[in-house]
């Protein structure tokens, strides 16, 4: 036994690989802030794409916002949509290449505000695409302005005294909104605030792609992510902020899971 262990230590060819970059990710360092959830979510999307063996036929659509360079980080054919229009662009791609796997990666300003109409009608049509929707309650790229997802009372650069729902509207709940639509096969919310929750995020991403592969309809995973920079908190405190502030407004859960969906 001792001899075998020594051989493993001295012969890299025999080492067991326990962790490596997924093939669906490039080796570029991301531009994300410390404590941002995007990097980990990118990685999980890429791992799922690898595990499902669909990298060669997957096309990604990047948003406008912090994840605007997603197309640089995913080692896939991909394109960059106008702000909020990723679901329409993905529709165009999927309709002419129905055997490809098409997904959008969008933030909350992009998807829930300027792209509200596109996401609504793409879900209504039951387009066979997958949407990875990262909700961090603010516009990150432009410096922390109020989004439709901003919590009531939450201070942002464009709601400096705190969001007042009576004049600035109430937070929007996207998967709950889309779930009742018959064309929606999978609509869930998950959170990045703890390791156990992160594992559930990955499982949900997998099911969302699985729904598309099985041809069941539209699939969306909302992921509550941290934005320490614009929340003005430390990265570790940002995770607590998700747990203590975000989740009461945005409960994690399954709002629609097509019964035919098999892992």
């Amino acid at each position: 036994m001792t001899t075998m262990v020594l051989e493993r230590e001295t012969s890299p060819a025999a080492w067991e690989i326990v962790y490596q970059r997924p093939a669906a990710l490039t080796d570029l360092p991301t531009h994300y802030c410390p404590g941002c959830s995007h990097g980990a979510i990118h990685r999980m999307v890429a791992e799922v794409i690898d595990e499902l063996g669909i990298r060669e036929r997957t096309i990604g659509v990047a948003p406008v916002g912090c994840a605007v360079f997603a197309y640089k980080y995913f080692n896939l054919d991909s394109c960059e949509a106008a702000h909020g229009r990723a679901p329409a662009m993905a529709t165009g791609i999927k309709r002419v290449l129905p055997d490809r796997i098409v997904f959008t990666y969008q933030g909350d300003g992009d998807l829930a505000s300027i792209g509200g109409n596109e996401i609504l009608h793409t879900a209504l049509r039951g387009e066979h695409i997958t949407v990875i929707f990262v909700n961090n309650a603010v516009y990150g790229m432009t410096g922390g302005q109020m989004a439709p997802t901003t919590l009531s009372g939450m201070k942002t650069t464009s709601s400096p005294t705190g969001r007042n729902p009576l004049t600035q509207g109430y937070p929007i709940h996207i998967p709950e909104l889309l779930a009742p639509m018959p064309g929606v096969a999978y609509a869930v919310r998950r959170s990045m605030h703890a390791v156990a929750e992160v594992r559930k995020v990955k499982k949900a991403i997998r099911l969302a792609f699985q729904a598309q592969i099985q041809g069941l309809g539209f699939s969306i995973v909302e992921i509550l992510g941290a934005c320490p920079t614009n929340w003005h908190v430390a990265p570790s405190d940002a995770l607590d902020y998700i747990r203590d502030r975000m989740i009461p407004e945005y409960p994690v859960g399954d709002f629609k899971v097509d019964e035919r969906l098999g892992d």
Binding site: R85, M89, T91, G92, V96
Partner: protein, 354 residues
């Protein structure tokens, strides 16, 4: 080839189908809706993609997506809808993916009305969206020409990886005329090397219009401009009617050019030698051909269904060498041949008195 009576909008749709359009995404708006309706019926019959979008914004972004896969994608709309598409058109131009757009122009600004208009000239030719770019804009005057131009539009779009806009007006879209349709082209099954199809066996293709570094974007823009210059040099289209011995020149495009043709004949019957210069490509403007005519005429009349848009291009070419007079009708009012001849008589009289 049989000549058949076709409505302009439907003839445009059938011509696009015969030119191999793979995917049509559109939204209803008068006076182009018959094009969408025709596509709704015919495209599924042929196993091709038809989708009525939730808005013109949705439609152009669906075109953008489909075009990124190397498919022959198109949309059609009318003036207010084209305004909504400007965002997508700018991204498409910046990403250099080919597509075809039909604009059956109506009266504006705002909701305007559903009568024929040419007031989108600036919008289409100057820049159909933010940033520096031009679409290749083709303006048919007859239903037959609409068919002919539609037939080459996808080839032009793919040759240059550019936007081709076929610009008619409500009259052209709604009128019926005898046309000869071209044969059905076999579908294009190959995809260009730049297309998004999945990375199977190659490195990723990325389609974006984003270049954060100033030097990078400047380089991309220089390349775009060089391409536009190549288009400007190679793709000017125009028609001259009775210009060989003309002393006076009418410049008009689309529907107005047909009326101007009647006016030219009426003037010639009275002994005044008038010719018609009809731009077919609105961008690139057929400047060299017009320039040649400026030297031989004593005056120019520009007639348009707007408040004076193409006339700016004409004045820039004429550069004050001869008088340029403008006749404009807006709101869907179509100028009559008599109104054009009145203007020409006026120019002839002023010239005679000089």
């Amino acid at each position: 080839m049989a000549r058949e009576l076709w409505k302009g909008n439907e003839a445009l749709a059938e011509a696009a189908i015969r030119a191999g359009v793979d995917a049509f995404f559109g939204y209803p708006i008068t006076p182009q809706t018959e094009l969408l309706e025709y596509m709704a019926r015919r495209m599924p019959e042929l196993g091709r993609t038809f989708l009525q979008a939730e808005s013109e914004i949705g439609a152009i972004n669906m075109v953008y997506g489909a075009a990124c896969t190397g498919a022959r994608a198109m949309t059609s709309s009318s003036s207010p809808g084209i305004s909504l598409m400007q965002e997508g058109l700018s991204y498409i131009a910046g990403s250099e993916v080919p597509c075809v757009v039909v604009d059956i122009m109506r009266g504006g600004p705002g909701l305007g009305n559903i009568q024929p208009g040419q007031a989108d000239y600036f919008q289409l030719t100057r820049s159909a969206g933010h940033g520096d770019f031009h679409a290749l804009v083709l303006a048919p005057a007859t239903v037959q020409e609409a068919v002919d131009l539609m037939s080459i539009s996808f080839d032009l779009a793919f040759q240059y990886r550019t936007i081709v806009i076929v610009a008619g007006d409500g009259a052209l879209g709604q009128m019926m005329e005898p046309v000869t349709l071209p044969p059905m082209q076999p579908p294009v099954t190959t995809r260009p090397a730049w297309a998004l199809t999945g990375v199977d066996g190659r490195t990723p293709n990325i389609i974006t219009s984003l270049y954060l570094e100033a030097d990078d974007l400047a380089r991309v823009n220089l390349r775009l401009q060089a391409k536009l210059q190549a288009i400007a040099a190679a793709e000017q289209r125009w028609e001259c009617y009775q210009t060989d011995d003309a002393e006076l020149l009418v410049v008009a495009f689309g529907t107005v050019a047909r009326i101007a043709r009647s006016a030219v004949r009426a003037m010639r019957a009275t002994g005044i030698r008038v010719g018609l210069f009809r731009p077919i490509s609105l961008w690139p403007y057929p400047a060299a051909a017009l320039e040649q005519l400026v030297g031989q005429v004593k005056g120019v009349l520009v007639a348009e269904m707007n408040a004076g848009q193409m006339v700016e291009d004409v004045r820039a070419i004429v550069q004050g060498r001869v008088p340029v007079r403008f006749l404009g009708r807006t709101g869907g009012v179509i100028p009559l041949p008599d109104e054009i001849t009145d203007e020409l008589v006026h120019i002839a009289r002023v010239n005679g008195n000089r």
